[in-house]
């Protein structure tokens, strides 16, 4: 079809012409669908969910294989220098125990104070627990594929966290798998605050696995290296007091932080209901 001159055959000329028309029509269909998916993303929920149901289980199955292989390798590695590791772990365990006792005391005190203030706190149970089995490794967006879907109760807009910290929120949900917008995506803006001092900040992904944090009030840069950023619960989507990231580098009016829950090594991700159910309706 690409030959410049198909000859004298009228039929060949027409078929060349119509193939060009088909291509131009294809471009317009694509642009129309693209505009639609940018302006009204909800329109494609079903088909994107169905596609996730095809790719999600593949990723889950292969993830089991690679996890087993990795487990064998790291398992063998653990025997190496086992004595040194044992001593280090014992020291860490002892330090941890002291901190846990302290934390338990604080929790108890907190409960008493809250009871005194008649503060009620909504209880949030996990909706589903899954694994992060894949990611959008070839685009500027940061998505991950989670191995649970609507059949487990997952709905679009629900926050996802790991034991280490916040992972992101669900943006596509199939019956068997769902897609998570990670906190390191540029479009994921999380109201947060500094653990040290409680200064309100805004966390926004940078698209390369790190996070930009900016103070809400313009002025002196409040960050220090090693600072922990936690969610503030403002906006009602993410629950408060979930750790998000650790500051690694300062820049002129904010800082760059690394998410505490690294999706690559997080073994489990927990889907929770939106902190205030009304917020779920607003999230795209």
């Amino acid at each position: 079809m690409a030959t410049a001159r198909p000859g004298w055959s009228r039929r060949a000329q027409y078929s060349l012409f119509f193939s060009f028309l088909a291509l131009i029509a294809g471009i317009f269909v694509g642009l129309f669908l693209l505009a639609l998916s940018l302006l009204a993303p909800a329109r494609f929920e079903t088909i994107r969910g169905a596609a996730l149901d095809i790719t999600g289980p593949i990723a889950s199955g292969l993830h089991e294989v690679t996890a087993t292989a990795e487990g064998l390798v790291t398992g063998a590695g653990d025997y190496w220098d086992a004595a040194g590791q044992n001593g280090r772990l014992k020291r860490e365990g002892a330090a941890m125990r002291r901190q846990i006792i302290q934390a338990k005391a604080i929790v108890q005190e907190n409960r008493q104070l809250k009871a005194a203030l008649h503060l009620r706190e909504a209880q949030h149970d996990a909706i589903a627990v899954g694994r992060l089995v894949g990611s959008s490794f070839n685009s500027p967006r940061r998505f991950a594929i989670l191995s649970v879907g609507t059949s487990d109760g997952v709905r679009i807009g629900m926050p996802v966290r790991a034991p280490d910290g916040l992972v992101g929120r669900v943006i596509d949900a199939g019956a068997l798998a769902s897609r998570v917008l990670l906190v390191s995506d540029r479009a994921n803006i999380v109201p947060a605050r500094l653990l040290r001092g409680g200064i309100p900040v805004i966390s926004q992904g940078r698209g390369d696995g790190t996070i930009d944090v900016r103070p809400l009030e313009v002025g002196r840069n409040p960050f220090k290296r090693g600072d922990i950023i936690i969610t503030s619960g403002t906006g009602g989507l993410y629950p408060p007091l979930v750790p998000i990231a650790r500051v690694v580098k300062l820049d002129d009016d904010g800082a760059v932080a690394i998410p505490l829950a690294d999706p690559a090594i997080t073994s489990f991700a927990i889907v929770e209901p939106p902190y205030e159910p009304a917020a779920a309706a607003e999230t795209p």
Partner: protein, 173 residues
């Protein structure tokens, strides 16, 4: 040279496979499906495998598939990779059209011209992905697109070689 040409390894009676017509499109969809691999990576530096194979086929032959097939293949790519539906449909079909027009202009081709063409197409692809991500609310600095672009361009010759091997297999040569 002459002897090598005479001593063909080709087996008598072995012709094109019966499904040869669908092999190119099937390989494109299969490479799109690489997005389902359990790779959890936050750099975004991996190449767009489906697109690389698409232009690999199209630069190797002018007729790997009827041009409009690029639209459904693009839809499959969009759904699998999670990019906004329509991005690859428009881009892949436009690539087919652009290469048809290029074919009408160019008098001759060699490896360097093909690699240059592929580099331009890959750059357009990366830039459009970046632009659409910005429209969707994720405006990352344009510098972050440079490493995946370089990686994709460097990977294209390998991709073209693999495509040519598959082409010889499907035609029974």
């Amino acid at each position: 040279m002459v002897r090598a040409a005479l001593a063909s390894k080709r087996k008598i009676g072995e012709g094109p496979k019966s499904f040869a017509m669908f092999v190119p499109a099937a390989t494109v969809v299969a490479t799109s499906l690489l997005a389902a691999l359990p790779i959890v990576d936050q750099s975004g530096w991996y190449p767009d495998f489906g697109f690389l194979v698409l232009i690999g086929w199209r630069l190797l032959r002018s007729d790997p598939w009827p041009g409009w097939w690029a639209a459904p293949m693009g839809l499959a790519n969009d759904l699998v990779t999670g990019s906004p539906v329509g991005l690859s449909i428009a881009l892949w079909t436009a690539t087919m059209l652009a290469l048809d027009l290029v074919d009408r202009r160019t008098m001759w081709r060699d490896y360097w011209i093909e690699w240059g063409l592929a580099a331009v197409l890959i750059a357009i692809n990366e830039w459009l992905q970046w632009r659409v991500a910005a429209l969707a609310g994720a405006r990352v600095p344009i510098e972050t697109v440079v490493p995946p672009l370089m990686i994709s361009i460097c990977l294209f010759p390998l991709c073209g070689w693999l495509v040519s091997r598959v082409d010889r297999w499907r035609l029974g040569r």
